[in-house]
Symmetry: D2
Subunit: 336 residues, 4 copies
Amino acid sequence: MIIQLEPKIDQRTTDELEDAVLAIGYKPVAVNTQDANYLVCVGKREFDIRAIGNLDGVVDIHRVSDDYKLVSRKWKVQPTSIDLGDGVVIAEGLMAIMAGPCSIESEEQIESVVKHLVENDVRIMRGGVYKPRSSPYSFRGLGMDGLKTFYNICKEHGIKIITEVMQVSQVESMYDYIDIYQVGSRNSQNFNLLDALGKVDKPVLIKRGLSGTIDELLQSAEYVFSNGNERLLLCERGIRTYEKAYRNTLDLNAVPLLKEKSHLPVIVDPSHGIGVRKFVESMALAGVMSGADGIIVEVHETPEKAISDGQQTLSFGESAKMIAKIRKTFELRESL
Amino acid sequence: MIIQLEPKIDQRTTDELEDAVLAIGYKPVAVNTQDANYLVCVGKREFDIRAIGNLDGVVDIHRVSDDYKLVSRKWKVQPTSIDLGDGVVIAEGLMAIMAGPCSIESEEQIESVVKHLVENDVRIMRGGVYKPRSSPYSFRGLGMDGLKTFYNICKEHGIKIITEVMQVSQVESMYDYIDIYQVGSRNSQNFNLLDALGKVDKPVLIKRGLSGTIDELLQSAEYVFSNGNERLLLCERGIRTYEKAYRNTLDLNAVPLLKEKSHLPVIVDPSHGIGVRKFVESMALAGVMSGADGIIVEVHETPEKAISDGQQTLSFGESAKMIAKIRKTFELRESL
Amino acid sequence: MIIQLEPKIDQRTTDELEDAVLAIGYKPVAVNTQDANYLVCVGKREFDIRAIGNLDGVVDIHRVSDDYKLVSRKWKVQPTSIDLGDGVVIAEGLMAIMAGPCSIESEEQIESVVKHLVENDVRIMRGGVYKPRSSPYSFRGLGMDGLKTFYNICKEHGIKIITEVMQVSQVESMYDYIDIYQVGSRNSQNFNLLDALGKVDKPVLIKRGLSGTIDELLQSAEYVFSNGNERLLLCERGIRTYEKAYRNTLDLNAVPLLKEKSHLPVIVDPSHGIGVRKFVESMALAGVMSGADGIIVEVHETPEKAISDGQQTLSFGESAKMIAKIRKTFELRESL
Amino acid sequence: MIIQLEPKIDQRTTDELEDAVLAIGYKPVAVNTQDANYLVCVGKREFDIRAIGNLDGVVDIHRVSDDYKLVSRKWKVQPTSIDLGDGVVIAEGLMAIMAGPCSIESEEQIESVVKHLVENDVRIMRGGVYKPRSSPYSFRGLGMDGLKTFYNICKEHGIKIITEVMQVSQVESMYDYIDIYQVGSRNSQNFNLLDALGKVDKPVLIKRGLSGTIDELLQSAEYVFSNGNERLLLCERGIRTYEKAYRNTLDLNAVPLLKEKSHLPVIVDPSHGIGVRKFVESMALAGVMSGADGIIVEVHETPEKAISDGQQTLSFGESAKMIAKIRKTFELRESL
């Protein structure tokens, strides 16, 4: 059960509400986000919801039988829209495209990608400055210096950026230089990181774990939301299966299911989802038709020279063609 | 290596060719299909292909480094087209739609589905008369009587049929009453059944195993082809993963990969692929954009009363809408 | 619910019983095995079991809430013992060892293995004459000729044999030359084959499917049992997972679970379960401690020259050591 | 390639060595642990190892073809032994037993478990004070206060403790109150945490990821080692597969493989590995026979009242019996 509280509720009324919740055998958890105040109430018993709904201080009340609560569409029927400013919005009914290299490598590289994005009217650039790598001896990213350059160049051209945050201490230091925090697959259940991201007011995209379930992804989003941050995006990026013909198994089943279960936008990552350059376009278009609200994809001026993930990265030529097709496919989808 | 032989090659020339193949360290296997005669040569050594290519009796010669040979696109670049007669063709560049109930239940049921298909210009009906069921106490299908009724009603209306064959002895008995044999997931590596289907001249659709790899699916097709039957279709129908939010995980990555590796048509089954009625349409459309040559889907007049698989079966209304969307999506795909 | 019927029950009493079962909303299925006659009753409703138990013709009656019935320990608490004659028995409380090559190759090979078994007091030899192979161009076994030689040599030395049956037509032709039919992983849900094996009176060992669940394995056994054959063994041989460091993932969790759920003996196959020769012994011993009633393992005089599976096959020296350790481990387990 | 350096090597000699490594096309990484100084050299080219081995400053040199280096047994043949003081040692040839509740709940609970451990001569207690939970609304542990109580009570009785560390900032704050840091499955690829744990001098047990590969586990250990901490333990705790009959699939194949690939001790966690109380003992004993150097297991005075994981937690009675059996099984293993 989720109870939305009156904005200026006083402490006594809150206490009385919590007591009423406890009295029906539920555990109330106060959640104060940047947008509103809630009591999330966890429990299993049957009760008459009107008995609570009629109390003082209640704006709205909903039963949510899912294990996750605040990210459930059972409570918030209207889809969440993420406004990044300057007219860049990610939302149901739009098609967000995020493109860029796996790793930020140099000023020249950023500028060449930005030029490509501007030419193709793409408003969000991806690129990693902290890289999770299986081996400690691999390149681990340019860090904060790289991030500042990345952010500044993009800002000049009206491009928003998304980049991976790997640990709690980076949340604050990166804050001034990002538009969207990305939580990578390996950190999808790094609960301390999720807690910390709940305390800032910038959007967070959460990738599904390497072998994460749909429920786990939604629970990870619930961590961020219940710590105060409602601006969340979910990302399907392929799961680990027995099949080794491709890097991961892009699970597009997840898209219509997540859209039904949650009010959060759903982004598809076909680059990691299949991991083979020549098939990325097909999977991007399939992702659009499955119902995605956005596509995030790896592009590089010279993929064969990219420091990481070159085998799944599109050249600018391939990218431009794909972007045009994504838009036509999305247009068809909305018209059907 | 695949050597296509002259149609009227004599025994002596064949023997000489086989000796030449053995001499370079390869094992020749004579394959005589309904369409042509081949020597499939298995081995790993390096050699000068022209030395064999110039011999008497050779029409054409190709290296095929894959473990499967005759189903590889490395050998046969031109896509295989399956002509079912009466203008019903399954091929790259077309969009085959196959629809019908999980199980054939009665004459009335067949007639209602046929009417629905005719109204929507669908030319191929699916429906099981032999049902593989986990439990021996479940309904196992109407058998040959059901098949005859199914076939006869469809024939009257110009509808072709596809139905599952479960064992060797059925191959012959079903022959006069089917247009396409279907090999189900649980029989995807029933090698004796595949051998037997290589000896008839009707098309065979092979479903990927419950947790079958792409390579295993292609090898299963190789079994049928190398026994003499070139008229094959491959079907992605979802794989078994750790995720239990849906019945199976539809692996659309398989579609562009199979299209690249093989010359055979690729069909997507979104009904089994996700197993939840309200999501079937999304996955069908995603399947089209991933590059499929056809969609096979479960429909029933009253899904909630279907003997089996009702939870993933579309009503006629849902089906009609989906079919229209599949066609528009396919049209877009071909125009991109 | 399972109703065991009086041996000489007449038709009228049976009919009355079936009517009584139908009357409480259950579906009765008559099962006549080589040992007894049953009514297996499938349904979900609550009812008073004494109302049926008191009727004429009933020897015994049990509720079985599992989806499988006759193989459940909820019905038959006493473990099933498989007597192969000549003092060779597979049962809880004993440790059956079955060893031999992947493929039967020649008379000499059989004789060398038999000598090794006799020296180590192993009474059951494994060996394939019909081989399921991914590729149609691989060696597929010596067939019936190989089987006859295999059987005759073993019989001379008091050795029982287990070998794989791949299709319905082989059930009868192999009957005179085997002691245990083996159903391989790829045929674990070949329901027609399971039906056919229910109609003969020789023991059947069913391997778990490549990615078969515990429930599916028990349901496959239910197929054989409900067709009339109670003499069944279950085999854990490794499942398909994302991990590629070994051939399969031996799932020893399955052993205590199967032992609890079913009255059938459970055999562990460490050779396929890990697929790496040097680790087979460790996994065999782990299998014993997990509670297995037997171990089936691949041995060959010269594993490096074996036609198939050499990389997971033990030499006679390795095998002799392992067998001694299996017995000591089993002895300890029984003493704990 | 791993070069062990002379303890008192000067900077000039180190520089010359690094130059020599670069000259053969390898990348040298200086690793200074609490025990020794190394150059880990990453590269693929062929070269004459003696050319480097003969240079000044080199104590020892080894080729290591694995992707992980310092944790490989190709370099360090002698198994790593972890001495916790007061005669508590974890090493090959011994059988470490670690037992305790999932969560630390209260002083009384700690004392009852300690008493049980002392009675059964178990020297290491497990227990979580920071709990990774899928849902933000679940109990997340008693934190530092709980840890201090836990540590102090154990210390009084000569019991060492192992507990989970979840984030970088906890590494230092927990330092004075733990004997072994545990990295949980969800943090198995939390690379920043692994880096931080490399900088302290207390042992670290790393659990395999939810669907982590053997190679990923070894690479995670490489992170800690290459940051300076050689005192590492690896833990198999079950992987995520399609099978839902138990919580996880305990992958005992991992044990002999890890023992061969690495010099680090391998611990088996049967509680999480199967997740069902009545089967924990069987899997613990199987783990011993597979070659484990230790068993970690959940016990509680009243499992049915445990805050978390009660369904897989043993009572003291069950635990005492299991511990005795583990020791007898280990004794047998060592005698074989």
